[in-house]
Symmetry: C2
Subunit: 354 residues, 2 copies
C-alpha cells in the first residue's frame, strides 16, 4: 500500500471512517446526480457520528483530492481521484468473486462476425441504458484464408476475400476485356497459392514481380487485380467501430445542457477517436475516469472496456461510455458478463479449424 509522508508524519491515505464517507458520497452521487452534504450523509447512511464530524472529514477528503465542491455552499461530489479509489476497491472485490458465468442457452446463429458483435453491443446498451462501443478486429494480411473470384458478367467479376475469422469482403472488378469462364479456376488457384496465408511482404512481392508474367495473355487484368487486392488489404487493416444506445445519454441530467449533449454525441460519431479509445488492454477490465482519458474532449467522461476473444486470442474490444458519474459496479459487472458470453459464442463458431 502506498504511504504518504508529509512533514515527516507518516499518514495512511485513508482511514476507515474516511473511506466509508467517501463511499457514501460516491454511491449517493451516482444515484442522485446531486452534490451531497454532511447532514444528508449523517441522516441517510447512519454513520453514528454527527454532521459536524463528517463535515471535518469531508474537508480533509477534499484537501486530499478525493472530493470536490461545485461551489462554496453546495455539498461535495467525487473527483476523478475519488471515483478511482471507489473503482479500484470494486475491482478488487470483483477479482475475489467467483466469475464463472451462468452459461446461457446458445441460440442458433447464422450471421457474419460483425453482426454478432453488433448484436451484443446493442443488448449491452439496452440493459445498461448507456452508450456502448464495439471495435471489430483488425487483421493482418497473413490472416487471409481464401480469395475467390466469381464471374458475374463477361467483363465483370467479384472478388471475395475471406479471413480466418470468417470476415468476408467483396469487390466488384470491371475489366476492359472479356474473360473466359474456364480461366477462373486457374486464377483462383493462383491467388490462393500466392496470397492466402502469406505475409504482407510476400504478397507485395508477388503482385509487383510475378503476377503480370504468370498471367500470360490475361495480363490485361493485372492492374485491376492489383488495385483490388491492395484495397482489400488496406480495408482489412482498418478497424471498424460500432456504437449503440447513444441516445441514452440524453436521459442523464448532466446532458440536459444541449451543448454538452451535442459534444458528447459528436464524440460518439467520431469513429477514429473511438478507435483509439478502444485500444485493447490486457487487463481483466479497464476503467478510465475523466481526465485519465488521453483526450481532452473526454475529461468529463468515463470508459469501461474489456476485450473479447476467440479461444483466448483477443479479437476486439467492447466498452461502455458515459459521464464520470456512472454506476461503475453495475456496469463493470454487466460488461464482463456480456463479454464473456460473446467470447464463448464466437469461440464456438469460429473455432480454430477455420
Amino acid at each position: 500500500m502506498r504511504v504518504l509522508i508529509i512533514h515527516g508524519v507518516v499518514k495512511m491515505p485513508l482511514d476507515d471512517r474516511k473511506k466509508r464517507i467517501l463511499f457514501a458520497v460516491v454511491t449517493d452521487y451516482i444515484m442522485t446526480a446531486e452534490p451531497i452534504g454532511s447532514r444528508t450523509i449523517a441522516k441517510k447512511y447512519n454513520m453514528g457520528i454527527s454532521s459536524a464530524t463528517i463535515r471535518n472529514e469531508m474537508a480533509d477528503l477534499e484537501e486530499m483530492g478525493y472530493l470536490e465542491q461545485p461551489h462554496t455552499s453546495a455539498g461535495r461530489i467525487p473527483s476523478d481521484k475519488g471515483y478511482r479509489f471507489y473503482v479500484d476497491t470494486i475491482l478488487q472485490n470483483f477479482m475475489k468473486e467467483d466469475l464463472s458465468p451462468p452459461p446461457r442457452v446458445r441460440e442458433e446463429v447464422i450471421a457474419e462476425f460483425d453482426e454478432i458483435v453488433k448484436k451484443y453491443a446493442k443488448i449491452l446498451a439496452d440493459i445498461t441504458h448507456h452508450a456502448t462501443v464495439a471495435k471489430m478486429p483488425k487483421l493482418n494480411p497473413d490472416k487471409i484464408k481464401r480469395l475467390q473470384l466469381i464471374p458475374v458478367a463477361s467483363n465483370k467479376m467479384i472478388m471475395v476475400v475471406i479471413t480466418d475469422t470468417g470476415i468476408v469482403k467483396n469487390y466488384l472488378l470491371n475489366l476492359c476485356q472479356s474473360v473466359d469462364r474456364n480461366v477462373f479456376e486457374f486464377l483462383n488457384n493462383l491467388l490462393n497459392d500466392k496470397i492466402a496465408g502469406k505475409s504482407e511482404k510476400a504478397i507485395f512481392n508477388f503482385l509487383e514481380k510475378e503476377l503480370k508474367d504468370t498471367l500470360g495473355d490475361m495480363a490485361f487484368m493485372a492492374d485491376e487485380l492489383i488495385k483490388t487486392i491492395l484495397l482489400s488489404l488496406k480495408q482489412l487493416q482498418e478497424t471498424d467501430v460500432y456504437t449503440d444506445g447513444t441516445l441514452h445519454i440524453l436521459d442523464f441530467p448532466e446532458y440536459k445542457d444541449l451543448n454538452k449533449a451535442k459534444n458528447f454525441l459528436s464524440l460518439l460519431d467520431n469513429k477514429s477517436l473511438l478507435n483509439e479509445v478502444l485500444e485493447p488492454v490486457d487487463d481483466f477490465v479497464d476503467v478510465k475516469i475523466g481526465r485519465e482519458n488521453r483526450f481532452e474532449e473526454m475529461r468529463e467522461l468515463s470508459v469501461i472496456k474489456t476485450t473479447y476473444k476467440i479461444n483466448d486470442r483477443v479479437v476486439g474490444t467492447i466498452g461502455i461510455i458515459g459521464p464520470t458519474r456512472m454506476d461503475y459496479r453495475r456496469l463493470i459487472s454487466e460488461l464482463t458478463l456480456m463479454t464473456r458470453e460473446l467470447s464463448n459464442l464466437l469461440s464456438s463458431i469460429y473455432n480454430d479449424e477455420i
Copy 2:
C-alpha cells in the same frame, strides 16, 4: 386552377399581393425562425404598401389557413398549407428550368453498392446541414445472379450470394460432416442452375422437393443449405435504411428543447418507420410537409425525397428530413443534383450487363 366558391361569390384563392406577402413570410421565417410581423414585412421587403394594409392581408391569409399565429401578439408564421403553396410554386419553376446537370468528373470507385449510396447521403448531409436518409434496394428472389459456395475448412463453407446490382451477402455454414473439396463444383453448378434468376416459387419448390434427392450421399448438408438459402432470401428482401448528419438537427432553434431533439433523434433511429417514409415515389421529387406525413410523430417534420436509379430503373430512395421550417428551394435543388449524380454513377458501374 382550383377556385373557391363561398356564399356564391367566386373567389380566387390568392391574389398577387397576398401571394407576395405569403412568400415574404415564408422566406423570412425560413431564415430567421422568428414569427414575422406586418411592420417588418413593410420595411424589409418594401412592398409599397403600409403595414396596416399588410396587417389586413395577413389577417385574410390567416383566415384562409395559409398563416398561423403562435400567440395573439406575435407575428405570423406559415402553416403547413402555406408551405405547401410555396413548395408547389417552387416545384413548378424547377420543372421549367433546364435540368441538365453539370456533369462532374467521375472518380474512380471500387466499392460496394451500399457504400456508394452511403457516401452520397453523407455528402448531401454535409452540404445541406440536414439529416439525410437513404434507402437501399429491396430485391426480388429472381434477382439472384449467382450463388457460390467456398470451402474454408473441412466442415465449414461460406455461401456467397450475388444479386444483379452487385450486392453480396455471405453466410457461414457449419456442417456436421466433412465435404470433399471436389464436390464444390457440382454444388455450385447445381445451385446456380436451380436458384439463380429463378422465381421465389421455383426456388421454394426446388428446396422442398428436389434438393435432398439430387444431393445423394451429400444429403446431410441439405438442412443447412436450405436454412441458409431461406435466410438469404429473407435478408435480400429486407431493405436497409441508412441515416447521416442526424446531429445537424441540434443546430436548429426548433430543437433547443431537449425533449423535441430527443424525439426527433429517436425517430431517426427508427429504421422501420424511415423505411416506410421512404417508400419510392414516381414524381420528380416528393415533398411531404408536416401533417401531410402519415405518421403522427412527424407532424412537425418535412421530408423531401426522390428516387435514384440504375438506367431508369428505380433502385432506392434518398431524402432529407428536418423541421417544416426548411429551405425547400435550396434543399430540393441540392437533393435533385446529388441524386442525378448518384444515378449516373451507379448506372455506369452496374450497367445492364451485370
